[in-house]
Symmetry: D3
Subunit: 305 residues, 6 copies
């Protein structure tokens, strides 16, 4: 275990904290909240490299250790949190890797997953389906991810929610997509609308602001179980250059935080933050954004405890 060998915790410099999530020294899968890395990038359609996302997010998370959330006043290092390490995957085989992810996610009470590309969310939802039938989804992303295929392949990071909806893993009428802005075939967009999904485009978000967005989300997802999936490319590339399929015109990080902080009452059942690709990052700002999003989520969980 890395970390200072002597001295009180308060004497540990940021960069000397063990590079687990928030410096967690707990690693058992029986913890009420488990953090896991899923270093998969086989489903990426453009830039690969999200396999290094979990490590980068963990390291960046150490910037968040010293103190409490400045609005909720939750200190997540006081929560029963374990960083259980990275999931094992099958090299070069997306389908097999997805099966491994589903299997390893089984039995975890509440999982916060650090991707990896967005294709990890499908097996996570499959695993979740064994506990919660058709949860709502709050989905932050530049892309709607309901393409029926990826360059001719059934699975990939662009068709996660196509399959999730088709497989009944989600309730599409309680699904809201925030920050959408990429080019998309009209028929893919229309198919998504027809399923009952509510998109809030990035332009719309910029117009109405985070308070209105948060209210709309609350209306859509209601009181049932909710899953949160944050594709870091929901942020503008200025805020998150380190990702695989950037699209300009995106959200600022404060906007996403302003929405999340208005969602303390929801019944969250799991979360992932995906598509941090460190090789394209600058000064680790994308990794820090990913880490902070997971931290915001965990502070929400802390509020409810």
């Amino acid at each position: 275990m890395t970390g200072p060998t002597t001295g009180p915790t308060t004497a540990v410099a940021t960069y000397a904290i063990p590079p687990t999530f928030l410096g967690s020294r707990r690693s058992d899968r029986s913890a009420p909240i488990c953090i896991a890395g899923i270093p998969l990038d086989l489903g990426t359609t453009n830039r690969s490299g999200a396999r290094f996302g979990p490590g980068a997010i963990r390291r960046a998370s150490r910037m968040l250790v010293d103190g409490a959330h400045p609005q909720h006043w939750v200190d997540p290092t006081t929560l029963p949190l374990a960083d259980i390490g990275d999931f094992a995957l099958a090299l070069g085989d997306l389908a097999a890797s997805m099966a491994l992810i589903e299997q390893q996610a089984g039995g975890i009470e509440h999982l916060v997953a650090l991707g990896g590309d967005h294709s990890i969310t499908l097996p996570l939802l499959r695993a979740l389906a064994k506990r919660h039938s058709a949860p709502a989804l709050i989905h932050f992303d530049a892309h709607i991810d309901t393409w029926p295929d990826n360059f001719g392949q059934a699975y990939g990071h662009g068709s996660v929610f196509y399959h999730a909806i088709e497989e009944g893993l989600l309730d599409p009428r309680r699904m809201v997509q925030i920050g959408i802005r990429s080019p998309v075939p009209r028929e893919v967009y229309d198919w998504t609308l027809a399923r009952g999904v509510t998109p809030i485009t990035a332009q719309k978000f910029h117009e109405i602001g985070p308070a209105a967005v948060a209210q709309r989300i609350a209306e859509i997802v209601g009181d049932g179980p909710v899953y949160l999936s944050i594709d870091i490319d929901v942020l503008d590339p200025a805020f998150a250059p380190g990702t695989g399929t950037p699209e300009i015109g995106g959200l600022a990080s404060w906007q996403v935080q302003a929405v999340l902080r208005r969602l303390p009452g929801l019944r969250f059942v799991g979360m992932d933050v995906v598509e941090v690709a460190p090789a394209y990052d600058t000064a680790e700002i994308t990794a820090l954004a990913g880490a902070t999003m997971a931290w915001e989520y965990i502070c929400l969980l802390g509020l409810g405890r």
Copy 2:
């Protein structure tokens, strides 16, 4: 021609698409819309490197191929578009290069030019003057570019519109400059105002928002022919680090898009996007911004067809 050797187009991965603009396989100058690269950086007063702009913008444009514009629902790959390659230039000789640009732009029906530094716009306007007398100008930039000289030289990227106005290539009363914010000698600013040009500073833009800006533009440019020139440094360096003369306090990319998307009724006669300098870019986000701006423009053209 690079590109996959087998399989349907839909099976082509983003990074395997031929690096022409939007993967265009058409290259004849007789196309109704021609894209050309103008890899000039001889007119640059600070960081050079815009000569690599066209190639970087083309490569980045491949991210935009898969689908339609998410608001106008135009798919630009269905438009009669040709990427005619790069203009030939004279090494080390700005004046001769400008003459070559004017000559090569001649006879093209509708040109979308990928710079290169802003000094390309002067010969493009000279060529345009043979077809359209004194068009209006929508000019996005951090700089007003009406300096009468550049470190003592008549031509350069800071005096483009000084010469364009002096030569009568534009109607300055139908000229609007958006995002202006650099230091500037008062006499240069006053000269510009005295010609009838309307500046909308970056601070003003932030105050009034894109809808008001778009309305003001429409009022100023009216029904006549309009040329659009986007200096990528109109964006804040956060959104466009890869440029030669950055100025902080600039626009977000969504703001520029929000303006452009409100201009479908205008009678556009040509466009350029300039000053992408890839050596200073991070994760190709500036190149992507440049490509997306040209794509927004082409979608506007598509709406009118």
Copy 3:
């Protein structure tokens, strides 16, 4: 002295201007306004490298030389400004370095300091206390910097204002902190509030906008002497990646400028801009942000002359 050896000043290219602040050729400590670099990074709790801040800020400042402020119409190169070079420091010894800073700041009429990490502000305030009793403070930062210690050490960049308040160097009831957003122990936050300090968090700023923030600042600081301290990490990492302790959710550079430009009537007695760490910068945008903040301040001074 670097700089062109022949030709009029107007013929000097940006990159050939001597790399002093705004290309200043004056260097005497008797100038009414002195710029000094303080290349200290011994007080940094995370990424080091702010020792290269002064040089990077100076080089970037050359982009701002050609013309006047586009709103105040002050040309700072016409002000009685001297770049007096870098302060000497004690390698590896923060306490001794602070003493050296205090000593070297003595006797300067009006100092604009280029950091270096934020721990330089404490000795600067100590030196200032000999001229002005308990000035007001306008403090832009992601962090409140009132931790009572830094990993167990009394001094460091996170406890600057704890000591300043404890030593009576500032009037905490006339102290406003803008852009605050990092995690922080509740007791540190409460201690700060109890001293009478007014925080305006980044989220609050985004909600109410720069005009309201500027008005609140004016109310708080009043008519007495005011010191301005800008930690560049007040900006979002998108705008200022080159810093030591970035926090997402921060301000855009235009927002900080929009506040500063509304403060011309205040009675400023000194200023610093700190925490520019060039090794983490991209395309020198953080250095440019730092330089522009100092330039905005100097233009305010120019308005009052």
Copy 4:
């Protein structure tokens, strides 16, 4: 097709040459020498990103266009060379991608493949086996690539030659591995020796020099058909940082060139250069190394014509 729209070829600036290999304007698969990109990185065990290798190598190759080889005096732009674009692949499915590669390589007279990770070589050898029984192999690499598996998977870039030998695609007694230096399980190394393969470690190479290495290669491969596979990580990371599994202690680029230039008499039947991962490159030097290696090979082919 990108490239200047007017003027003689000699007036084309390096960066305006169409980004095909050596600016080739020929793209038919019937050419005597075909260049193809194989943008695969599904078989990578560490850093991904070799999918961008073909594009980067092509762009870098333009530096090599203006003139003849300075030792062989072959000008490869005069050879019957076509750049046939990129092979189609199956997203997220290494096995299916390998089948596609084998299929697309079929029927090409002489293929120069630009990877992509090293796992492309296995299907290329399978395709070659239909024309040439068990060719010799000259293999430049930091790794012996005869691991029987990759993290438990049969295929991947570390087991290429294990399978090639097991499938009888090569004559292991006429196989020489140059630059070997990574940690390796003893049993993997011994298995390789037992097959008859000759390793020349990097340390050995540094001791005996390129002339002795070239002579040893000539002795081993003899007069039969020879395949050349260059993993760019044979170069030291100083010379090729842009790769997935770097190992220090490697070769300088001049050393590899010094060997290749001594092999004009061999009967080459195909070549690949693999593992260029541009996201990790600096100043495109790894891409240039990859391009130059393919250019050296093509000049050898030109000598024999």
Copy 5:
């Protein structure tokens, strides 16, 4: 503890191995060989940032896990090795940090220290002096590090061996410095020679080669206890850009390896590798060089067991 949560060790991808040195899961100080990080950069005279060296070296070391040393055939993961984490330090206080280092190094049987700047070596030698009187020193460096002060301060990374010799911590007649090449005051150089130290300059090394160097080292250090200190700037900046005080004309990494591999018979009592500054690294090659040097050393220890 990070790392895959299921599956056999052999199925763990490189980037999913826990980021301890060589993925070690042992962390007790009673291990026969202890690895510790010492994230100090307070003694740096130029670029800071070596505080991030230990983390970067640990991550890079994972590339070396899969197999045995290709010459000694030692697999260091089979040795009784613990990564005991990072030493605690005093922020901003070099003298206090050195005292903490000395204290924490006490009682460790055999320490391999990952710096951190070179000033860590002095307290490590002080701690060692309690076990071994005046060991020999093999010192790889671009600088002789016997300056009597550092910009006027007694301690710093340039005066480590001045103090070590003055304090009698080393036997200077059994001290050899390899790779020396920086400018140096003649009196500093002469003082060092007069103490009996043997320098082998970089130019000399290039002339005579690693075998002769290794033989000279063996002659000088003899049979007594030997400490090995590798400043990564002994490598040319091409091989180790990520360091604080680079000097051109340095060694290639293979040369240092070629020396180390010829030293299996020596009686090593401790080792450090210092001055890896990741913020200046490219593609993590300097971190990999640092990790590989420590791995070479540990393999030497393994040979002797």
Copy 6:
């Protein structure tokens, strides 16, 4: 003038030294040795950016201040050296810029020029011709630079020595080119040989080593006046990534130093180091290489005084 405001020179940290060459505080053109920057990149055929070379070389030179040359024992800060700043140039006009360079170089006793691209050498030789008839030339470069034109233009960085020979500015029989390796048209190469020029290719250099090269140089240049021109791309891109037209297979920096250090008896009359392009550099190693080459030259001058 930047630099510490108090304390003895020896207390000045490297990064606080004024960024003139070697921290020189003398700037008059009457100095026996003048350093000038020539920030020209209009003659560049590939990557631009050498305009930032002088500034980067000056900053890097500060690493070389503290001490004497470790072989010649000359301390160049004790020589009568002035850094006279940058030459003025004409934006966008290579021919006019060359005339300005020739004019500004006139009257300087001994000039050490920091480029800028290689096209600066032609006007420098023209200026030199007024003092010394047809000096010998020692030319380090990857390219022979005797192309009769550059993409159709007479002047540019590829035809410097074509014109210099044609204009009789050099004695081609006393001209030696070291490190040559780029592709080149045979007729250009043959023309050069026919003029009497002696090339030593990079491959030849690697074969025979620096001592033999130095001896060959001495034989060729003889006792007359000698000009030294170092294009930094003579170094392999590993050692000098920050340049415009890199070619692999180049020299290591130690090799160039090993040659230069063997030339103390020559009658040098001027020197330039060109083609450092900082935007492509990593960790400033190319700038440091450029600075060190100029420092080696100045130390040679110091030996002769």
